[in-house]
Amino acid sequence: SIQIPKERLPPEKPTIIKCRSPEKETFTCWWKPASDSTNHTLLYSKEGEEKVYECPDYKTAGPNSCYFDKKHTSFWTIYNITVRATNEMGSNVSDPHYVDVTYIVQPDPPVNITLELRKSIKRKPYLVLTWSPPPLADVRSGWLTLEYELRLKPEEGEEWEVQYQIWQFWPILKIKVICNSFLHADYAYSGCMSSNNSVCFLDFRVKDMV
């Protein structure tokens, strides 16, 4: 039988992996490239419009991605997104990926977490935990509302326990009783932790309330 050399075939179908908006103002989509293709083109259309557009920015978010800045980002609107892989033998188009940016908001973790041991007037110790919203998030104007979730677990423990869910306006929390020893905060996503012994890890997860 006649063997057609591998690179003589048109590329396989690329796959759109994910789209995410970190601050509800811009968003990025990533795709898994087709193995034997020379280049990829992302095309999209928007609800209520016939016109088809090409990705405005292939560079900002790195390889195999398309970054939509504020000017190209609309909310409460369904984007119909496809990626086309091309080589000298032809092209192949991904399945359509339908996205409403309103529902792909995934904020960055909070920053500047501080933990302070204080003594009340009656000499009883308590902890004060403070944090700031992720820098990119505009919570001042009311456009983005964040809900914080405070979770605790003993160092040896496996399970995180959700202690509080806090609406965004009070990034200060008084914690009466935590656990027996010093408490250390780490970031939910970046996962950087120090290796103190007998510490409780305080894990922060931030959810946009959409």
């Binding site: 909310f75 609107t77 369904i78 359509p96 456009w143 959409v210």
Partner: protein
């Protein structure tokens, strides 16, 4: 919406208090709408490609509403308040029918039924509260002109199950979207009018 504290009849709640209650209510309505949509989507819509057909099919699509942060911040607050009122009014009729028609969906879980009734009730309360807010903020008469009719009842009663399920999917998709718009706009307005954009 604003219940007079300690029984006094004609109490005058502050604009801030009115906005506080309205935002809590809009947040609650959107939360319920999202839950209901997700539940319905999971149970009845998997693999049917409904989202592709739901494009551009909300009965409120003809209302020109802000689509990003910049537009929401630039629009005059009276116009945005009127838009919120218009969207809320446009949902009165469909919510009444949704609450009754959803009972006829095969094995509709109690949680979907309960949410449909609760949303209809809370939407009325929010509309009442918004009319009070607009009355306070508006210089002139409260505008009654923004409204889009809904003609979707027959499609909720279609014999063909796939078509009928898509009609419900589309209504819940639009409800989730519009309740989110209302919630978002109210939060932006509250921060602008009450907290001078410094929430």
């Amino acid at each position: 919406l604003p219940i007079c504290p300690n029984g006094s009849v004609n109490c005058q709640l502050s604009l801030e208090e009115l906005f506080d209650r309205a935002v809590k209510l809009s947040h609650y309505i959107h939360f319920l709408s999202s839950e209901m949509f997700n539940e319905f989507d999971e149970r009845y819509a998997q693999g049917r490609g409904f989202i592709a057909k739901a494009v551009n099919s909300c009965h409120t699509a003809s209302l020109t509403t802000p689509e990003d942060k910049e537009q929401a911040q630039q629009i005059h607050h009276e116009d945005l308040l009127n838009l919120i009122l218009g969207v809320l009014r446009s949902w009165n009729d469909p919510l009444i029918h949704l609450a009754s028609e959803v009972q006829r969906i095969k094995e509709a879980p109690e949680t979907i039924l309960w949410k449909a009734v609760e949303i209809e009730e809370q939407n009325k309360r929010l509309l009442e509260g918004m009319e009070k807010i607009v009355g306070r903020v508006h210089s002139g008469e409260v505008g009654n002109d923004i409204y889009t009719p809904w003609d979707g009842l027959p499609s909720l009663q279609l014999a063909d199950e796939d078509s009928r399920l898509f009609a419900f999917y589309n209504l819940l998709h639009c409800l989730r979207r519009d309740s989110h718009k209302i919630d978002n706009y109210l939060k932006v307005l509250k921060c602008r009018l009450i907290h001078d954009n410094n929430c």
